[in-house]
Symmetry: C2
Subunit: 123 residues, 2 copies
């Protein structure tokens, strides 16, 4: 796990870290929970079938990606979502989808402008 974290930190593009962070189902559960409001580490751990140190390691991956930040006050570490990186990931995907849909539209326009083939005629 520490090795994976090291590998992740060696990568450059922030999107690498965000998509990597979201590729784990436990981390997605943590992000889902934090989108509903701040939570302590033990609150984050509650629905997950894993040890607290394992949850802390996942939290470190989320913090390294910029999706989450946490602050320790007294003995309690409180975690919050950082919506900016989630928006960047959404933006990247939407741009790809838009490119793809525009291509489909152009293809549709092109096909609509083509003369009918004999097989298409209904009479």
């Amino acid at each position: 796990m520490r090795y994976i974290l090291k590998q992740m930190l060696n990568q450059r593009d922030p999107l690498d870290l965000v998509f990597q962070a979201l590729s784990d189902p436990s981390r997605r559960v943590m992000v889902e929970r934090l989108c509903r409001g701040p939570a302590s580490v033990s609150e984050l751990a509650r629905p997950l079938a894993m040890s607290l140190p394992a949850v802390v390691q996942h939290l470190q991956v989320l913090e390294a990606s910029g999706l989450v930040r946490s602050e320790k006050v007294g003995r309690v570490r409180t975690c919050q979502i950082e919506p900016g990186m989630l928006r960047n990931a959404e933006k990247w995907i939407i741009e790809r989808r838009t490119t793809w849909e525009r291509r489909l539209d152009r293809l549709g326009d092109y096909l609509a402008g083509q003369p009918e083939s004999p097989n298409d005629r209904s009479e």
Copy 2:
């Protein structure tokens, strides 16, 4: 609970593979290219500073995630985007963002309904 059950059954969530596939910058370049239209493996390799076998390995990750499919006709393998999985990833992120924004709205409504504190008064 559903999450724990899934873990027990050792099923991998398709989103794990999609976000994992998108966490690599070369694979994102390949997805960007394929959103502009189908391409052969050597066309995909052109902007990437890596060997053809390395590109084929990345292609295998993209195909395993369901983001891309490819078909070999004669000696040429042609790759195409599969938009469904990209849509699933987008949907997951948008749902999280919506949850987060609704929470902010509720917080705003709550604060707007609170009596002003003496410090906020301008007169």
